[in-house]
């Protein structure tokens, strides 16, 4: 499926007009993007390091996962909304950027992983799950979100 028409439309949309013309607005939105990213990354790390039994050992892992997941959602929505606005400023450039697509693919895998694999698995009492599976889930989660963040930064250098 060719997404070029979407990126072409985004390049001439109202969002693009605003993001290209008002540097101040872009900077504020970028701040929210970074805030969303740090919130998401923080929640992923706290949840996964708890699953790996490295931090907060005195707090039940179910409680940590439940609380971090709520704020993960907030971070993800903030990141996606602000990310669409930011990408409108350079949408055609992004379309031809290999690392942008690597980031999008990692993001799609990350979202699928969180809502179709990690969350359904961890709704069960954690003591009924195999510790090795829980740890593998945590390591995979960290690896996916590291890739999303690193490939996102790489866009600027590629």
């Amino acid at each position: 499926m060719d997404l070029y028409p979407f990126f072409d439309w985004l390049d001439t949309s109202l969002l693009a007009d605003i993001s290209k013309a008002y540097g101040g607005v872009f900077a504020v939105v970028q701040m929210f993007h970074l805030l969303g990213m740090s919130l998401l990354g923080g929640m992923v790390l706290v949840g996964d390091l708890r699953l790996l039994n490295l931090i907060m050992k005195d707090v039940p892992s179910e409680m940590v996962i439940e609380n971090t997941h709520k704020w993960f959602n907030v971070g993800l929505i903030t990141m996606i909304v602000s990310g669409i606005f930011m990408s409108s400023a350079v949408s055609l450039k992004l379309y031809y950027n290999e690392m942008f697509w690597a980031k999008m693919a990692a993001l799609a895998v990350g979202v699928a992983f969180v809502y179709l694999v990690r969350k359904p698995l961890l709704t069960a009492p954690h003591e009924t799950l195999k510790p090795s599976v829980v740890k593998l889930t945590a390591i995979t989660s960290i690896a996916i979100w590291f890739t999303v963040a690193a490939s996102g930064r790489w866009i600027g250098f590629s």
Binding site: A102, V109, F113, V117, R118, P120, L121, A124, T128, L129, K130, V133, L136, T137, I139, T140, A143, I144, T147, W154
Partner: protein, 54 residues
């Protein structure tokens, strides 16, 4: 003692855990391939820029 209810609740967990393992292995394998490609590319560029150090 394991009764029928226990078996019923344990089965979905088992399937879900098996699915999780498959998903995680596939994702980790793909990420390993992706990053090794990126690192190889960077090493190649460094070699082109600075030579092999000899």
């Amino acid at each position: 003692m394991t009764n029928d209810t226990d078996l019923e609740t344990a089965a979905p967990h088992k399937r879900r855990q098996a699915f999780t393992v498959l998903f995680c292995v596939a994702v980790l394998g793909t990420l390993l391939w992706f990053w090794s490609e990126q690192i190889a590319e960077v090493m190649e560029m460094l070699e082109l820029a600075y030579g092999d150090g000899s």
